[in-house]
């Protein structure tokens, strides 16, 4: 009989360990969920400002087209359009900085997740949580590279309009400058696609993790 009750006590201990393990991972999942959802909420700033930048960029295209259609005899009109394009360039720069700050804030909110993910005991859950964190890191890196190119394209546009209003402008150099800007635009478009693919992966992996952690069933 003494053997039986000792076995019984061991089984109870095992249950207790199992229970504490489950409870631990559940707690980590809740922490991760809180941080990642806060970060996602913060990205709303990132999205809203993008709309504003998109519209400002389209305005610049219109101004550029007006400038291209003008005749050098209309000096005043040309000056006016160049002035508008330069002002627009400043606005784009400002919005781009706000977008960058929006994503950066969101990224900062997601940073504690890294440490928490490493402490998860369940192998599958940990793998998904770490993958989610890594995808967020990658998104951030991709955006930083995209931001740098965007910033450079604005600098190049500014130089272009600056050169255009000079008396001794070099038309060949101006043509080269536009080609340079267009080349950069194509690069940025590719970077944008890559960022979006990474974002999709991030959202999917995050949902999979929530599901594995028992936080939600469906995505």
């Amino acid at each position: 009989m003494i053997k039986n009750w000792k076995l019984f006590i061991c089984l109870m201990m095992l249950f207790l360990i199992l229970l504490s393990g489950c409870h631990h991972d559940q707690k980590q999942a809740e922490n991760i969920y809180t941080d990642l959802e806060k970060a996602a909420d913060q990205e709303k700033v990132f999205a809203d400002k993008q709309q504003a930048l998109k519209e400002t960029g389209e305005e610049e295209q219109t101004i550029y087209q007006k400038i291209m259609d003008i005749d050098t005899d209309h000096v005043e009109q040309l000056k006016q359009h160049i002035g508008a394009a330069q002002k627009n360039n400043e606005q784009q720069k400002q919005l781009l900085e706000e977008i960058d700050a929006g994503l950066n804030d969101a990224y900062q909110l997601s940073l504690p997740t890294k440490k928490v993910a490493e402490e998860i005991r369940d192998t599958e859950q940990q793998k998904l949580a770490i993958e989610t964190v890594e995808l967020m890191d990658k998104r951030y890196e991709l955006f930083e590279s995209y931001y740098k190119d965007f910033e450079d394209s604005l600098k190049e546009s500014k130089e272009f309009y600056g050169q255009l209003q000079k008396e001794d402008r070099d038309t060949e150099a101006l043509d080269k400058q536009i080609k340079k800007i267009n080349k950069r635009y194509r690069k940025m478009e590719e970077q944008q696609d890559e960022f979006n693919r990474c974002t999709e992966q991030y959202n999917e992996t995050k949902s999979k993790y929530y599901q594995a952690a028992g936080l939600t069933k469906h995505t």
Binding site: W5, A40, M68, I178, E189, T199, N203
Partner: protein, 299 residues
């Protein structure tokens, strides 16, 4: 004898209560997880945002009305400058004497004669000749003569062999002149002139490197006549060009026959009040227009 220890009644009850408590907790926990999963209760999840900016490429500047308008203006300004230059030259009775193929072994003598008449001239020289007589090139610079390029080989099968060949020869020659004299010159005269072997593509290549292609409007024919006749012919041609309202640019060669008869030409120019000038990088070059006459050497 085996001894068996039995739990008393109180012990059994306590153990049972603990067991029931632990098992209840375990099953309740499981039930709670199952309930969440089975019921499909969703924990709200916000998706991370995408990038949605658009980048329509800009219309090429070279295709725009503005670009064409700028070019027209530049063309007009250039034309105006040329006209101004022409008028100034007419007023000064300017003339450009140019000597190709040097510096020859007699180049020193040539410079002495020019100095004697206070005449200026421009020398379109070959790279290897410059390297053979660097001191004469230095003297040209010190005495204010103009330096120009005539290539390296002076072989039409070499210099016109490909689109880039004239540019390559002139660039090499340019480097030699600069090394020897410290003078940077963009002035170019093609062996045998730019007609017929200098194709439009070759001209484009030279222009891209900022070379200024100088031909002539008075051919002295010193290379052919070699005696007093070339002087008479040159004087006649100069008069014709002047009458046409143009500034004479005279083709001569740095060679003994020319040098021998040159004083007669210089005397004439002096008597007629001509001002000999040097060609410079800034001047609009006098270049033969292709007008369908240019073709590749093998074409």
């Amino acid at each position: 004898m085996k001894q068996h220890k039995h739990l008393n009644r109180k012990g059994k009850i306590t153990l049972s209560i603990i067991a029931v408590f632990i098992l209840s907790f375990f099953f309740l926990r499981l039930a709670s997880i199952d309930k969440t999963a089975a019921s499909g209760e969703k924990i709200e999840s916000v998706s991370a945002e995408q990038l949605s900016l658009s980048f329509e490429t800009k219309k090429a500047f070279s295709d725009s009305d503005l670009h064409q308008s700028f070019q027209e203006k530049e063309r007009q300004a250039k034309q105006k400058a040329q006209e101004k230059q022409r008028k100034a030259e007419q007023k000064d009775k300017a003339i450009y004497l140019t000597f190709d193929d040097g510096p020859s072994p007699e180049a020193g003598e040539l410079l002495d004669i020019l100095d004697q008449y206070n005449a200026k001239a421009t020398f379109f020289m070959l790279g290897p000749q410059i390297q053979s007589r660097p001191e004469i090139v230095e003297r040209m610079v010190n005495e204010g003569f103009g330096l120009g390029l005539h290539g390296i080989t002076h072989d039409k099968d070499q210099i016109y062999r490909s689109t880039e060949a004239p540019t390559e020869e002139m660039s090499d020659d340019q480097e030699i002149v600069q090394d020897v004299s410290g003078v940077y010159t963009e002035l170019v005269r093609l062996p045998y002139g730019s007609i017929p072997y200098l194709t439009e593509e070759m001209r484009g290549s030279l222009n891209q490197q900022n070379f200024k292609i100088w031909d002539w409007n008075v051919d002295s024919r010193d290379w052919e006549l070699k005696d007093q006749r070339f002087i008479d012919h040159t004087i006649q041609e100069i008069e014709n060009v002047k009458q046409a309202g143009e500034t004479p640019v005279v083709l001569l060669h740095d060679k003994p026959e020319t040098i021998r008869h040159l004083p007669k030409l210089l005397t004439y120019l002096q008597q007629e009040g001509y001002q000999t000038e040097t060609v410079t990088n800034k001047m609009a070059p006098l270049t033969f227009e292709c007008e369908g006459r240019c073709h590749p050497i093998n074409g």
